[in-house]
């Protein structure tokens, strides 16, 4: 069975600074996807970034980037130039290779960005 672990329940960062959220996972699958979802106080989860396990290059979306270490089963999210609007709950999630398969979530990290 797959598991996803987020060891940081809460993090805080000052506006314009950089913060890294940690995520580790366990799986015996060779083909899978990893995701970071953001859940702002309005509650709707939105996709931040996605990484395909077969790609060695780390995914990047504007200020968001990941450090994907496949051998270590680690998938951290780096937020550069943090903005107040980045304040949210961040969930790391795993999905097997089939795009319709279920997501397995971590427990989340609550990020607070201070002015």
């Amino acid at each position: 069975a797959q598991t996803v672990t987020q060891s940081q329940p809460e993090m805080s960062v000052q506006e314009a600074e950089t913060v890294t959220l940690s995520c580790t996972y366990d799986t015996s699958e060779s083909n899978y996807y990893l995701f970071w979802y953001k859940q702002p106080p309005s509650r709707q989860m939105i996709l931040v970034i996605r990484q395909e396990a077969y790609k060695q290059q780390n995914a990047t979306e504007n200020r968001f980037s990941v450090n994907f270490q496949k051998a270590a089963k680690s998938f951290s999210l780096k937020i550069s130039d943090s903005q107040l609007g980045d304040t949210a709950m961040y969930f790391c999630a795993f999905r097997r290779g089939f795009n319709t398969d279920k997501l397995i979530f971590g427990t989340g990290t609550r990020l607070q960005v201070f002015p």
């Binding site: 795009n99 397995i104 971590g106």
Partner: protein, 114 residues
């Protein structure tokens, strides 16, 4: 921008009562999901639904739970006889089915069982 909508946003019910949570997925999507999040805990998969039948369900999704897509637009989750431990936020999600498709979530329905 298309979105997944859920109603009600919050429902309070007595233990043993039936509850129906409703979701309107994105119109051209083919795959539908329910997840739940007990306060302070992780988001957990309940069930996936495709072509008018359940594709997969978790251990949580026991005989007290059912899903249906009654009219081609709504996707409902029914809990027949609610228990205190059913109190949670329930999220509906839909997926278009394309290879790199993104899963879209609704804002959730908070269920409080007293």
């Amino acid at each position: 921008e298309p979105e997944v909508t859920q109603t009600p946003s919050h429902q309070v019910t007595q233990m043993g009562q039936e509850v129906i949570l409703r979701c309107v997925p994105i119109s051209n999507h083919l795959y539908f999901y329910w997840y739940r999040q007990i306060l302070g805990q992780k988001v957990e998969f309940l069930v996936s639904f495709y072509n008018n039948e359940i594709s997969e369900k978790s251990e949580i999704f026991d005989d007290q739970f059912s899903v249906e897509r009654p009219d081609g637009s709504n996707f409902t989750l029914k809990i027949r006889s609610t228990k205190l431990e059913d109190s949670a936020m329930y999220f509906c999600a839909s997926l278009g089915g394309e290879i790199a498709g993104e899963l879209f979530f609704g804002e959730g329905s908070r269920l409080t069982v007293l």
